[in-house]
Symmetry: C2
Subunit: 351 residues, 2 copies
C-alpha cells in the first residue's frame, strides 16, 4: 500500500545502476571502494554495496558503526577524528572485538588519549589530512607528528585519509581532486621520510570522484552517489535521470502562480548552499524551484506555467539526500513488483 | 548517567519559567493559548502546557494529532491546509471520534473535498488567512468564499487563523503583529458581512507574540517560546538566560584558532536564515559563531581567544529548535535531581 505523503521513495533500478557504475569505475581505476553509509544508514543498502565489491563501509560515528556491525558488516572505518572518553573507548573496544575497525585521528592529543584508553585493543587509526576544506585534519607536512604519537601510544597506523569537501561548489570537482592528490601525496611522502608507511591512502567525495587522481589513492569513500540529489544535479555530478531518491508530496495550496506541497524541512532537510538555485528541485518539472521552505511547506515557483491541480502528487529532489534520509525511519523502494520497505536503522545515531 | 555527545539537554527550571511566563501573558491579555507542539513533539511537555491552562494543542500533521491523542490530549488543532484523500480522511474521522478536532482549509476545492469525505464527522474547520507571509492562506477579502464552500459542504466553521511567519526577521515582530491584526480583522469583517461568525480568531508566532494586538484575536499558537533558540536570541525575542535547550557537544579538533565540535546538521538542523550570524551559537561563549556546519562537525570561530581544550564539552544553541528536536528520539532533562528523559514521541510524524 502506498503511504500517505510526504514519504521518501527509492527507484530501485536507478539505485542499482548507480551502485554498479561506481563499483565498475573503482575496479577500473584500481581503487578500493568503501562507501560512506551515512548517506543511506540502511543495512539493506549497505549489503548491496558489499555484494558489489565494496571492501567495507565508512561511517561517521561509533553509533553508526555499532549498528552496521549488528547487521553483519565486518569491516568499518569511522572517518571522523574521534575524541575518546572512557565510555566511548569501551564502546570502541567492544566493536573492535566484532569487526575490523579503523578510525580517524587528527591531533597528537587525540592519538595519545586513544592509545591510553585502547591499550591492547585491535584497532587501526588513519591520520586525517586537510586537503583544503579546512574543517578537520592536519596539514600534509605535519602528518608524521600525529602518526608518530599514535605509534608511540601503541596504536596501529593504517594510513591517511582526507575528505575533499570543498568539492561542493560549481566547477570545483576537478581542481579539488587535484588538491586531494597533492595533499595525500605530500602527506604520504612526509610519513615515508619519517620512516612510516601508509597502507591506506583514502579520499573521495561524490562531486570530485570522476576526477580522482587514482595513482595518488588506494581507496575512495563516496556517499551520495547511491541516490544523487539536487546538489549533485546542479553541480553536474549526476543527471536527473540518475536520481534514485525523491520525496513524494501532495499539492495542498495554490496562489499567485505558486504552489505549496506538504513536504518541508522536516523531511527534505534545510541544506541550502549559496550556489544552489533553491531548497530543492522537482524531478518532473526541471524548471520549477523550491523558493521557500518551512517545516511542512515547500513553496514552488514555476514561471509561465499554471500550477498543478490541488491533490496532485509531485516528486521533490532534496538538496542534500543524507539529511533527508536521516529524517525518516523507512525508505519506500519501488522495484518491478510492489513497494518494499527498507529501514533507516542508523537514523539519528549521532553519538 | 550522562549520554555520549552530542545530545539535546533541557534546562527544566528555564523551561518551566518560559511556560509560566507565556501562560501568564496569555491570561492577562485574555487570549486562549494553544501552543504549537511541533516544537517539542513530546507528550511530557504537552502535559505541562495543558496543566498551565493551555486550551489544547496545535500540531502540523494528522500523524502528530494521532500521537498526542494517544497520549490523552483531548483538543487538537491541525494548523495546516490539509488536502484529504480517502486514506487521510479515514484517519481524520477516527481522530474526531477521540478528540475535539479542528483543521485548516485555504481553498474552495479543499473545503469541498473535505466536506465530501467527512460527511457526518464531528470536525471543525478554520479558514487560513494570509497575513503577509505569502505561503498559504487566502487574502482577507476572500475568506468568505472558502468559509461559504465549507458550510455548503456540510463542515462546521469554527473561525479563522493565520501564521504571521514573516515575523522571523530583525525588527519584524511589531510590524508583523500589526499585519496580523489587520488581516484577521479584515477577514472577520468579510465573514460577518457574508453572515458568518468566527468564534476563533487565531494567530501568533514567538517573535511577534509580545506585540500581539490582543483585541483582534481570541487565541495564540506560539511554539518556540518553550525552549528559545539562536534565532530568537538574535531577534531579541529571548535572552540567552531564557534558552532552555542546548546541544551538549565535545571539542574534537582545533586548528588556526578555530575549533570543531561533534555536533552537526544531523542534530542541530541546517536552518540558516540570511540574517542569522551563523549556524548556531554557544550558550557560554556568546562571542563565538558556528561558521561552518556539516553533518557531524560544527566549526566554531571566536576571535582573539584561544580555543577550548580538546575533550571539553560545550553547549550549542541550535538556530531553529524545532528542527533540532525532530532529529532525536530523546531529550535529556536536567532538573534538581538526576537527568530525566522525555521521549520525542512525535518525531518524524510528517504525514
Amino acid at each position: 500500500m502506498t503511504p500517505g505523503t510526504p514519504f521518501l521513495c527509492v527507484d530501485l533500478q536507478r539505485l542499482l545502476a548507480n551502485l554498479d557504475r561506481t563499483a565498475a569505475w573503482s575496479a577500473e581505476h584500481g581503487l578500493a571502494l568503501r562507501p560512506h553509509a551515512k548517506t543511506h544508514k540502511s543495512p539493506a543498502l549497505g549489503r548491496l554495496q558489499l555484494e558489489r565489491g565494496a571492501v567495507g563501509l565508512t561511517v561517521a560515528t561509533v553509533g553508526e558503526a555499532e549498528l552496521f556491525a549488528d547487521h553483519g558488516v565486518t569491516d568499518v572505518f569511522i572517518a571522523y577524528p574521534l575524541w575518546l572518553d572512557a565510555a566511548r573507548a569501551t564502546r570502541v573496544a567492544r566493536l573492535a572485538d566484532r569487526v575490523r575497525l579503523t578510525f580517524g585521528v587528527d591531533s597528537i592529543e587525540s592519538a595519545q588519549q586513544s592509545g591510553r584508553l585502547l591499550r591492547g585493543v585491535p584497532v587501526g587509526v588513519l591520520v586525517e589530512v586537510d586537503s583544503g576544506q579546512h574543517r578537520t585534519g592536519v596539514a600534509p607536512h605535519e602528518v608524521h607528528r600525529v602518526a608518530g604519537a599514535a605509534l608511540d601510544a601503541g596504536l596501529s597506523l593504517d594510513g591517511i585519509f582526507t575528505f575533499p569537501g570543498h568539492s561542493y561548489g560549481p566547477g570545483a570537482g576537478g581542481p579539488v581532486a587535484a588538491d586531494e592528490a597533492r595533499a595525500l601525496g605530500h602527506a604520504a611522502s612526509t610519513l615515508a621520510l619519517a620512516g612510516h608507511r601508509a597502507l591506506v591512502v583514502s579520499g573521495g567525495s561524490t562531486p570530485s570522484l570522476a576526477a580522482t587522481h587514482s595513482e595518488a589513492l588506494t581507496e575512495v569513500r563516496p556517499g551520495v552517489y547511491v541516490f544523487g540529489d539536487a546538489q549533485q544535479w546542479e553541480l553536474g555530478t549526476c543527471s536527473p535521470e540518475e536520481i534514485a531518491l525523491t520525496c513524494c508530496a501532495t499539492v495542498v495550496s495554490r496562489s499567485g502562480g505558486r504552489f505549496v506541497v506538504d513536504a518541508g524541512s522536516k523531511i527534505l532537510g534545510a541544506d541550502r548552499p549559496a550556489w544552489a538555485s533553491g531548497f530543492g528541485r522537482l524531478l518532473d518539472l526541471p524548471d520549477a524551484r523550491v523558493v521557500h521552505l518551512s517545516e511542512h511547506h515547500a513553496v514552488v515557483e514555476r514561471s509561465g506555467t499554471p500550477p498543478p491541480p490541488l491533490g496532485d502528487r509531485v516528486r521533490l529532489v532534496p538538496n542534500h539526500v543524507c539529511s533527508a534520509v536521516n529524517l525518516v525511519d523507512t525508505l519506500y523502494v519501488q522495484g518491478d513488483a510492489d513497494l518494499e520497505t527498507w529501514q533507516v536503522a542508523a537514523r539519528g545515531r549521532n553519538s
